[in-house]
């Protein structure tokens, strides 16, 4: 019983060291790809809370991601506030939009829920393109670097370089992973699983299923908002085309390919689907094509996800 735990810890520490040290070994391009993978990991892990554990498929994660990004862009432009104020603001605003959509949408089930979230995603995207006076339309809004991180009057580090953003993303990803780890192992997480496995039964034994689903929806949206705030600064700007329905679908795809309702699965899926097309060599033109083919193959051949398949092989334990 002890040995796997030790092996796991050693493995985890090695992985963390490897990830932290990665920018020293890798070039700018590879670091940027890794940074994208981290952003997708945050999105996928947060979507997994609502779709994997609570069983409510949402195709609007790209919208919450965009709402976070536009919150920091608009606040930075109009109020002159910086990243450290905009980050909590982005989390709250995205969470509020999650609540706004969740209250009506979560009364629906299955593909109806999927399609309402698709409609919401489309409304957000079209609003970003059309409400030019606020969002800048297709030109978007420029976002400054995060800049100096101070504590007690001292400047600790300045986040202006790719490496700085990479490490910040690593820290934020770790926080998202930790929070979701705690959540799924708490009473709240068990409520989500109960709702996913049998909503009627969960309601019959006195569980407030609507509250449980709504909580998952809001937390998930808020986390996507955090990723959005970071991405706006990484990209140095926001444009509507970074937050389309295709982002939402990609995030769902990453979660499913890795294994929904498992803890490691979404991380694996996000890394795999971001990195694999990139490292296929000088086929940049065919990158998206290969992504699509991988997706179709994965969902056809390994529908339970990679982690799900591994667990099945080990004897069907959940």
């Amino acid at each position: 019983m002890k040995q796997p735990v030790i092996a796991f810890s050693v493995g985890a520490v090695a992985l963390v060291v490897l990830l932290v040290a990665a920018p020293f070994a890798a070039g700018g391009y590879e670091t940027n790809v890794l940074l994208q993978a981290l952003l997708y990991t945050m999105l996928t892990v947060s979507l997994n809370l609502v779709a994997g554990y609570a069983g409510q498929f949402s195709f609007s994660h790209g919208a919450f991601y965009g709402i976070g990004a536009y919150t920091t862009a608009i606040m930075g432009r109009d109020l002159g506030t910086g990243f450290w104020i905009n980050l909590p603001a982005g989390i709250v605003v995205a969470g509020l939009f999650g609540l706004l959509l969740g209250i009506p949408a979560l009364r629906l089930k299955g593909h109806f829920l999927a399609i309402v979230t698709i409609a919401f995603q489309s409304i957000v995207y079209l609003t970003l393109t059309q409400w030019v006076s606020v969002t800048g339309g297709q030109n978007g809004i420029a976002v400054p670097h995060i800049g100096a991180v101070g504590f007690g009057g001292h400047t600790l580090l300045g986040i202006t370089t790719l490496r700085g953003y990479y490490w910040l993303a690593l820290v934020m990803t770790a926080i998202v992973l930790f929070v979701s780890w705690r959540l799924v192992r708490s009473r709240i997480g068990r409520e989500w699983i109960a709702v996913r496995d049998d909503e009627t039964l969960a309601g019959a034994v006195g569980l407030d299923t609507m509250r449980a689903k709504l909580l998952a929806f809001v937390i998930s949206a808020a986390m996507a908002g955090a990723a959005g705030v970071l991405s706006a600064h990484v990209m140095q700007g926001v444009t509507p085309d970074d937050f389309t329905i295709w982002i939402s679908c990609s995030v769902v795809a990453m979660m499913v390919v890795g294994g929904r309702g498992t803890f490691v699965g979404p991380v694996l899926g996000a890394l795999l689907l971001t990195l694999l097309p990139e490292f296929l060599g000088g086929l940049a033109q065919y990158k998206m094509l290969i992504f699509g083919v991988l997706l179709v193959l994965a969902i056809t051949l390994v529908p339970e996800g990679i982690v799900g398949r591994v667990r099945q092989r080990r004897g069907g334990a959940r």
Binding site: A114, I115, A119, I123, Q130, P303
Partner: protein, 290 residues
């Protein structure tokens, strides 16, 4: 008032294309339970098939339409092999993701091999003006509502009076019982996909003289078609046709009297409102089969 009628006519033209695309989508959903995100690519590739037939091979219009139907139907067959064959008996989410992958593949294949430049189709029909009272439009546009009416009546007759149609309807009502009664599911699935793709392809071809054609046009049209399918009620062919034309008219009026920027949003807002009030769609019966 004259302008109002013109807006109405424009709305009906665009709405006809929505109806054609949405009827195929709802057919595939209602009979096979597949939510097909790649449906917009049938529309896009149908438009390109027609453009190629006319500009490269200089064939007359009816031949071009036939070519579009053949190409789209073959695509539909291929889509069935990918989206329905291995994925049946799974939840709708699997087909959403798999068809999303297929859409990405088709779009990017089109971007690579056809190129991103938008193209517009000019045929001999676009030069012929038609005036009905205060309403004016080129004959090419008028073809859309006419073709939609013809195709939908034909579809209705096939579903009503042929054995293929009967097996399609039997599948739609209850897949397992239909199979027990000797309906060949594989064949029904392929026919359904082929018909759906052909309808979308024809819509794309006819619209290629109204809007520019480029590899990404499928994106918005498939979202609109989903809107229409929900408004019409999942799996309801008549509902999809009516809701499609209504959406076209609503969009045309919104852009004329409110704001052109609201044009694409209005449908999605209506969908959310409708689903909250009537979760099975405007014309829907109970569609939740779980």
């Amino acid at each position: 008032m004259d302008l109002f009628l013109q807006y109405l006519a424009n709305g009906i033209v665009v709405g006809s294309s929505y109806a054609l695309v949405a009827v195929g989508l709802t057919l595939v959903f209602g009979i096979l339970g597949v939510v097909n995100f790649a449906h917009g690519e049938f529309y896009m590739l149908g438009a390109y098939a027609g453009l190629t037939a006319i500009t490269v091979f200089h064939v007359p219009l009816p031949v071009a339409v036939a070519a579009v139907i053949v190409v789209s139907a073959l695509l539909g067959w291929g889509a069935e092999v990918i989206l329905h064959g291995p994925l049946k008996n799974r939840d709708a989410t699997s087909s959403i993701i798999s068809s999303f992958g297929l859409a990405v593949v088709l779009q990017n294949a089109a971007l690579i091999w056809i190129g991103p430049e938008p193209q517009l189709l000019q045929t001999s029909l676009s030069a012929i003006p038609v005036e009905i009272g205060p309403v004016f439009m080129p004959l090419q546009r008028l073809m859309l509502p006419i073709a939609t009416a013809v195709l939908l009546v034909a579809l209705h007759l096939v579903l009503r009076y042929t054995w293929t149609g009967r097996s399609l309807r039997a599948m739609a009502q209850h897949g397992t019982v239909a199979r027990l009664c000797g309906v060949r599911i594989k064949r029904v699935a392929i026919v359904t996909f082929m018909v759906a793709a052909a309808l979308a392809g024809v819509a794309g071809f006819l619209m290629s003289s109204v809007y520019m054609v480029h590899p990404l046009i499928g994106n918005m049209i498939v979202l609109k078609a989903f809107t229409v399918v929900i408004l019409g009620g999942m799996g309801q062919i008549g509902g999809a046709a009516a809701a499609g034309i209504l959406l076209g008219i609503t969009e045309s009026m919104t852009s004329a009297y409110l704001d052109n920027g609201l044009r694409d949003i209005v449908g999605f807002v209506i969908v959310i409102v409708v689903l909250l009030v009537r979760p099975n769609g405007l014309f829907g019966r109970k569609a939740d089969r779980s």
